[in-house]
């Protein structure tokens, strides 16, 4: 029979994967619509965590209030980010420039710049060390399930991720804004000439994607009890890897690959050593790029 130790590692890997998935959803949503990588997504995650921290230290509200305020902050961040780092480069609104290389390259740089400014700004304001969090807010109370012990955070993160993913599917397929997002990602010019406000659709997409990023930030911060200015960097990279593996614009693909990444990192930690965990992620990326250049779930699907 299985050693419970392995099941335990599997559970840890799975919860890690769910965290990557939360990040990857926002990343992929924005890529699907604009065809650009948003390098500031990791900092949205960090700023979301810090917003929650400030709220907790100032008012100590209930957990759900913290979560909803952080989601609102995330939406605002997405709005601001799009206006600062993306919209100025979208000077012409035809499809060629909306999805052109120049647009892609300049927003790669501008979103990277925003991410550096945000990270360094937080370091100046708070210092680079981990912030102390009130113990009662941490979501790491153990729950024993047979031989395996998980913590409350595993359950909360899983439930929130499932709700976000389900909510997003509902939004994309059943609502008008979702229809607009899908139309803009399929053909912005076609959408524009039948009355869809592409600018507003794009900024809405950023708000939704960043909401998820910020939500992931505060959840992970409370899960590990660690909130610090550089916390968004590694999850940002992992979410990027998951997005590429999933086929760049497939949200379900990115989620599956994020879970796969988390699980295999957990297994690598168990069987090799924790130092090798990151190697697994990058190894997967290289193998995917060589053998499945379209991504594992890439070809012939609807974007977003």
């Amino acid at each position: 029979m299985f050693d419970p130790y392995y099941l335990q590692q599997l559970a840890i890997g799975l919860s890690q994967g769910v965290i990557y998935a939360l990040m990857a959803i926002g990343f992929t949503l924005i890529f699907g619509v604009l065809n650009v990588v948003n390098f500031a997504h990791g900092e949205v995650y960090t700023v979301g965590a810090f917003a929650g921290l400030l709220l907790i230290t100032a008012f100590a509200p209930p957990f759900l209030v913290v979560l909803f305020v952080v989601l609102a902050v995330g939406a605002a961040l997405g709005f601001g980010l799009e206006r600062i780092a993306f919209k100025p480069f979208r000077r012409f609104s035809d499809e060629a420039s909306l999805k052109s290389r120049a647009m892609r390259e300049s927003t790669l740089m501008s979103s990277l710049a925003v991410s550096i400014v945000a990270r360094e700004g937080l370091e100046i304001a708070f210092g680079s060390q981990m912030q102390t969090l009130p113990f009662e807010y941490l979501i790491n109370k153990p729950i024993a399930i047979g031989p395996v012990t998980i913590v409350t955070g595993d359950v909360i993160i899983f439930v929130v991720a499932a709700l976000m993913l389900g909510g997003l599917q509902y939004l994309l397929t059943k609502t008008r804004v979702g229809l607009s997002i899908r139309a803009v990602s399929a053909n912005p010019l076609g959408a524009k000439y039948v009355g869809i406000d592409t600018d507003r659709t794009i900024v809405t997409t950023f708000a939704i994607g960043s909401m998820m990023g910020a939500g992931a930030g505060i959840l992970v911060g409370l899960y590990y009890g660690a909130i610090f200015p550089a916390m968004g960097f590694v999850p940002g990279i992992k979410a990027f890897v998951a997005m590429v593996m999933g086929g760049l614009s497939s949200i379900p693909g990115a989620v599956i690959c994020a879970l796969l990444l988390g699980l295999s990192e957990g297994l690598a930690t168990t069987f090799i050593s924790s130092n090798w965990a990151d190697m697994v992620a990058y190894g997967f990326l290289i193998v995917t790029l060589i053998f499945f250049p379209q991504g594992l779930f890439g070809a012939g699907r609807e974007r977003v």
Binding site: T175, R182, Y193, G195, D197
Partner: protein, 250 residues
Amino acid sequence: MSLLEIENVTRRFGGLVAVDDVTTRVEAGELVGLIGPNGAGKTTLFNLISGFTALTSGAVRFKGAAIDGSKPHVIAARGMSRTFQNLRVFPNMSVFDNVSVGSVGAMGQSAFAAVFGRRGRSDAISARTWEALERVGLAEQSEELAANLSYGKRKYLEIARALAMRPDLLILDEPAAGLNDSETAELARFIRTLNDDGLAVMLVEHDMNLVMGICSRVVVLASGRKIADAEPAVVRADPAVLEAYLGVDE
């Protein structure tokens, strides 16, 4: 007051005058053709009308209100709808969803309705969508992915998406491109039925025959200038038009 009034419209790109002082109009319920050889400025004029390119000088009025400087989606929502020469359908969405985008676009998106308005339940949206699908004969294939339709059917899908906006003016950009003779004839009949129901149509075409066959008036552009604006029979006999199309031996 004409439905669409184009007054002394000029557009320069650097030293190139793509559209040079063009004045014309489209009346409500009219079927007008816009033709000209390659590079005549048809596409630029089209882009000026639909808000895609800014005017250098002149004015464009739609239903009596100036629309130059308005964004394309605003102009579209006011009742001017278009299709594209190289189709711009949404390939991996269903036929129904493709046309729904037109319905949603036309009904405006108040912030609340845009986020919380449910598409499936909204009777007004699905009524518009079904009406447009039935009009072009695609109702049976509403659940099919647009990518799986034949090229000809995708043209009708794009027209349905435009019709779902219930426009007052429909602009068709080279609709016959890529169709064979019998398909073109069928399309011509279809455009006529749309026009018979009172919809004003502007047909931008490279090829003269379709335009001459169904339009009541034809505007001819050459090198950015309007060289003719009359009934098909008059245009066909116009020496300036013949020269622009065929060249003249000196």
